[in-house]
């Protein structure tokens, strides 16, 4: 699926409420092979969404692990069409909610506002996921959150600086002491 198809399907799903989508569809007709599902703006947006989910503290956050780029790669090449549509629609939805609530798109609002907005969306996602029919499509923020956790904790930054990772453990012990606060093994 290319970006054009995806955007037009997003428009259908969301009832044409995406900011800028009509302009995009009407105004832009590049050759199909030059289409990509994501643009530079999306990587910036996804980096900030991911960073809000897993922020830098005394250890690095999702942005340093390039989770935005990771998400675009997985969604583009590994997702089925339906989830691509849901994911892309979700990015627009977040910008839209952000604009309606705080008067600016997600990249323009403060980290506190981002946290507040995405916390609300995550709560909505949790209820939806819990109650939905197993065959019903996933919530877009469920996809984003899952990709963020996966992309971050399987990255070099996440595995080695936030978790513990040993390339060659050399031995196995099945029952070792553990103190609260010690990091988990990456794998």
């Amino acid at each position: 699926m290319n970006r054009r198809d995806a955007i037009s399907r997003v428009a259908l799903i969301l009832g044409g409420t995406i900011v800028g989508a009509e302009v995009f569809l009407a105004g832009c007709k590049p050759k199909p092979e030059t289409f990509s599902l994501f643009e530079d703006y999306d990587v910036l947006l996804l980096d900030e969404i991911a960073e809000t989910i897993l922020p830098a503290t005394d250890t690095p956050g999702a942005k340093e692990a390039k989770v935005g780029e990771f998400m675009t790669r997985i969604v583009r090449d590994c997702y089925e069409e339906m989830n691509q549509v849901i994911f892309l629609g979700g990015m627009r939805k977040i910008d839209e909610e952000s604009f309606l609530k705080y008067g600016g798109t997600f990249l323009k609002i403060t980290p506190e506002q981002r946290l507040e907005l995405l916390t609300e969306i995550d709560e909505e996602q949790k209820v939806y996921t819990e109650e939905k029919d197993p065959a019903a499509p996933p919530h877009y923020f469920r996809l984003m959150k899952e990709l963020t956790l996966w992309g971050f904790f399987s990255s070099e930054v996440g595995a080695t600086k936030v978790l513990r990772y040993l390339e060659v453990p050399g031995r196995y012990e099945g029952c070792t002491p553990y103190k609260k606060g010690e990091k988990a093994w990456a794998t």
Binding site: C78, S154, L163, P169, G174, A184, T187
Partner: protein, 557 residues
């Protein structure tokens, strides 16, 4: 035409063993492999990669799913070792009923990607067909094969505990791996509750827990299926191939698809093989006094079906009426799991390429069910990582901190059930469909029947009951996909037996109609047991070579 003392067709677990044993006995051996060469260590291109070195972190893309429609049905389709799996589009087959066939066509075959669990059949396994009055009797008993299990284990290097259980005979083990704290307690509770009738033991696996036969011991990276640069698990490349090479008697020829075994009907002996070079499409013939057929269960049968068709239209071994029939696998995808409270002050060190095993207890030692045979479980208990759901947290610093620490302990077990040998579960040639080389393909017609479906109910219910009894909470049973093939333990289709009228092979794996052809991969299996079968192929292969040498010396072949 080049001539050798022996030709081995296929370089996987059993073919590698045949090559080692034959060359060590002084025979000049040609080892044929239909796929590319994979050189030990050098060609394990992913072995030293980290998770973050993969663009898709190991997962499958939509493009991969299109190219590997069969492989995509289960875990083998992945980014990390894709080169070790057969591209379905090049090597199609016909599914009269769905059969998930996961193949590896390269030097080493599936010995590179295998699960390494290594168990002996027990006494009852070899008697079961006779006692139940089904299929045909094994022509071999446990006592006869036991020394060959010893022999295979001593060379392969099997880690395990001597548990003293007649249902799962002990072997020549390297030190066992350790259970986790939760596994130890669950094992103790199972033993106590079932009064010694059920046991949970540490898995017995072909991973070295001590240096062995010049190979380095396991480093607990748990990356076995990428190929091990330490040679710490048994594969053709780490073990049998170097042993065979060392003799100076081995010629390895990759890209060699054997299209038929050449047969002299007057002498009633095979004379050699015809090979299609998979790269050049040129045809070659090679001759030898004896032939070991180890092309993997279904492909060995394919070769037999395409051989000596001027004498028997349905191929060498078809005079028995058994060739292609009695296809078996282990049925799985059923079990239970839950979470274990407590143990917050316990953890693990290292990545263990092994789990726990619960040997068969159904229809054994006085137990009687409304189906025949039984099942075992594999599983494990460990602490959750970052992939867990934390209900009370949403996003932000709290989530990150929580996921940076280990979660709860969980424990799960999944069953491996015996499939009976049914004449109707079979493979035939589909001459209407061709592979990339213009060769006809196999049609597979195999299904689970009532016995297996009844067994699956026990497999789930027992799993739930045992875990619940052992203190595991929120235990959820599952009965998912039991489609044959998914066990990746194809067996049968050229079974051994006592009578040439109902079996393809005699008790030494010789084709009744061509005693200088030995078939020692999974196709010889007369019944399936419920234990992982590769160790049994190793033992029978070594025994068959021993017999072949003795028959050669007596000039009987």
């Amino acid at each position: 035409m080049e001539t050798f003392d022996a030709i081995v067709i296929g370089s996987g677990i059993s073919g590698g063993w045949a090559a080692k044993e034959l060359t060590e006995k002084g025979l000049k051996v040609l080892l044929l492999e239909r796929g590319r060469n994979v050189e030990h260590i050098k060609d394990y291109v992913a072995a030293d990669k980290e998770a973050w070195d993969y663009p898709y972190r190991g997962t499958r893309t939509q493009k991969m799913i299109e190219e590997y429609p069969v492989l995509s049905r289960d875990y083998p389709l992945n980014e990390k070792n894709l080169d070790f799996w057969v591209k379905d589009s090049e090597c199609p087959y016909t599914e009269i009923k769905r059969f998930d066939w996961f193949r590896g066509y390269h030097v080493g075959g599936r010995s590179l990607m295998w699960g390494r669990q290594s168990y002996r059949f027990n006494e009852l396994d070899f008697e079961a067909n006779a006692k139940d009055g089904i299929a045909v009797d094994w022509p071999v008993r446990y006592a006869e094969i036991a020394p060959w299990y010893d022999y295979a284990e001593k060379f392969a290097g099997i880690s395990g505990n001597r548990d003293g259980l007649p249902q799962l005979p002990d072997g020549q083990f390297l030190p066992p791996m350790e259970m986790t704290c939760v596994e130890k307690d669950v094992a103790a509770r199972i033993k106590e509750h079932y009064k010694g009738k059920r046991h949970m033991i540490i898995g017995r696996t072909a991973n070295l827990t001590a240096p062995h036969e010049g190979r380095v011991n396991c480093q607990f990276r748990n990356k076995c299926w990428l190929g091990c640069p330490f040679g710490a698990y048994f594969s053709t490349q780490s073990s049998t191939l170097p042993a065979a090479m060392k003799t100076g008697n081995l010629t390895l020829r990759p890209w060699s698809i054997v299209t038929q075994i050449l047969y002299d009907k007057d002498k009633k002996r095979a004379t050699g093989v015809e090979v299609l070079d998979a790269e050049t499409n040129k045809t070659y013939t090679f001759s030898a006094k004896i032939i070991f057929l180890n092309a993997s269960t279904l492909n060995s049968t394919w070769i037999l079906m395409n051989s000596a068709t001027d004498v028997w239209p349905d191929g060498l071994g078809s005079s028995s009426g058994a060739l292609g029939h009695n296809l078996m696998d282990h049925h799985l995808g059923v079990g239970a799991s839950g979470r274990m409270e407590g143990y917050e002050d316990k953890y693990t060190y290292g990545r263990r390429p092994n789990g726990i095993y619960i040997p068969r207890y159904r229809n054994y030692a006085g137990d009687k069910r409304d189906y025949l045979r039984g099942f075992g479980y594999q599983g494990g208990g460990g602490r959750e990582g970052w992939g867990r759901e934390i209900k009370e947290l949403t996003i932000g610093i709290g989530l990150k901190e929580a996921l940076s620490e280990p979660g709860e302990w969980t424990m799960g077990i999944g069953g491996f059930g015996e499939i009976l040998p049914y004449h109707e579960n079979k493979v035939t040639l589909d001459k209407t469909k061709k592979d990339k080389w213009g060769l006809n393909v196999l049609a597979i017609d195999c299904e689970l029947k009532e016995n297996e479906l009844k067994m699956r109910k026990d497999m789930m219910n027992d799993a739930v009951e045992m875990l619940t009894m052992a203190g595991v909470k929120d235990v959820q049973g599952w009965d998912g996909d039991g489609t044959p093939g998914r066990g990746i333990h194809e067996m049968g289709t050229a079974r051994m037996g006592k009578d040439p009228k109902s079996s393809v092979l005699n008790k030494f794996n010789q084709v009744w109609d061509a005693p200088n052809v030995f078939v020692t991969d999974g196709s010889f299996m007369t019944s399936a047991s419920c234990v992982n079968p590769s160790l049994t192929y190793m033992a029978f292969t070594a025994r068959a070579v021993d017999h072949a040498i003795s028959e050669l010396n007596k000039q009987n072949l």
